[in-house]
Amino acid sequence: MTVRKNQAALTPEEKRAFTNALLELKRTGVYDRFVTTHNGFIMADTDSGDRVGHRSPSFLPWHRRFLLEFEAALQKVDPKVSLPYWDWTADRTSRSSLWAADFLGGTGRARDGQVMDGPFAYAAGKFNVNVRVDGRAYLRRALGEGVAELPTKAEVEAVLSMPVYDMAPWNSSSNGFRNHLEGWRGANLHNRVHVWVGGQMATGVSPNDPVFWMHHAYVDKLWAEWQARHPKSTYLPAAGTTNVVDLNDTMRPWNDVTPADLLDHRKFYTFDAEPVPAAAASQR
């Protein structure tokens, strides 16, 4: 069974296995297909039209399935690898070990934003940015420049306390847990992290930066924590909603999986620290 761990707790060998598997998916072209899929959805998902991957209730189950596919691809390369998560409320500076040269490499240089160290630096020759929105083929970052601060624990807590999963009009203007976690409304959690990292992470081709997977693995964990805290709340809407994926509707691009199929992450993986159900937590 796959166990997703906090990236801060990985051993040097686990880090090496993870980055090597990423480089192998890159070499075979599998990696770039994921970038293309993500960009296709992010450009097509609109507030007033069909929306599946983003700005809609299915933001969370869509990314859960997207990450599962990516993790399965990694495990074909190395069965011991699982997706780590980045708790950006805890590891919140560019000095975090996440950005060290033995893992993801650091921020970009001032001149052109180019990442100069680590396995994904352009000069290392193994991680060209091929699916891109502009001419630049090198991985870029500007940690902490687009926005100064990552979300805090208190900001996350406030969003986790929201009891309703999502609300009409089921888009970027919605109230409720999903849109506050996605970040179009309120303190801004998920969106802000993309902006904080900068470079490709701030664009539609954000999976070009390997931190994408670790950011979304944590967003996914926050969904699991919300579920544990609100056992009586569930995915909404239930049925019959135009342009929106209802609980039992299939999701593109897979067309064989529904949000209902993805609600329980424990069918697929567990976390190193599993969310504690509300009842158990209150007994402590």
Binding site: F41, D47, V133, R192, A202, S206
Partner: protein, 134 residues
């Protein structure tokens, strides 16, 4: 690499001066051919050495085909140095582009200027990036 370095130099201090020059010229040209015919919301400016052109939505006219499957209707066309920038409007009236996709802007002009800053002299890729959209 070399090309990007040179373009980028244009985008910074040295470029600021020439930008003013070009901006002046553009404004004159626009004034010469009947200013009145330019629809409201049209922008043609040089910002940090890059030309930003914004054409308001005119149902169907001058549209790239079949991109959003309908969702794109009613959006202005934003170009940077002649290359189209993918833009989207949020339900609350704010704007995002494909190069700043997680950050909202109040209007297409500030969105386009943010894209210029983000590009640091790089050229926009063709409208549907490799592999295209769904």
């Amino acid at each position: 690499m070399n090309k990007i370095t040179r373009r980028q130099a244009l985008g910074t201090a040295a470029g600021a001066l020439s930008a003013l020059g070009i901006a002046g010229a553009t404004a004159h040209a626009a004034a010469a051919d009947s200013r009145a015919s330019i629809p409201a919301g049209t922008v043609d400016e040089v910002y940090q050495g890059r030309r930003i052109q914004i054409t308001p939505a005119t149902s169907g006219a001058g549209h790239h085909g079949g991109h959003h499957g309908g969702g794109h209707d009613g959006l202005p066309t934003v170009r940077i140095d002649g290359r189209e920038l993918h833009v989207m409007r949020n339900a609350d009236g704010t704007w995002i582009s494909v190069v700043n996709h997680y950050e909202t802007f109040a209007d297409p002009t500030s969105l386009a200027r943010a894209a210029v800053r983000e590009l640091q002299g790089a050229v926009l890729a063709p409208f549907a990036p490799m592999g295209g959209t769904a």
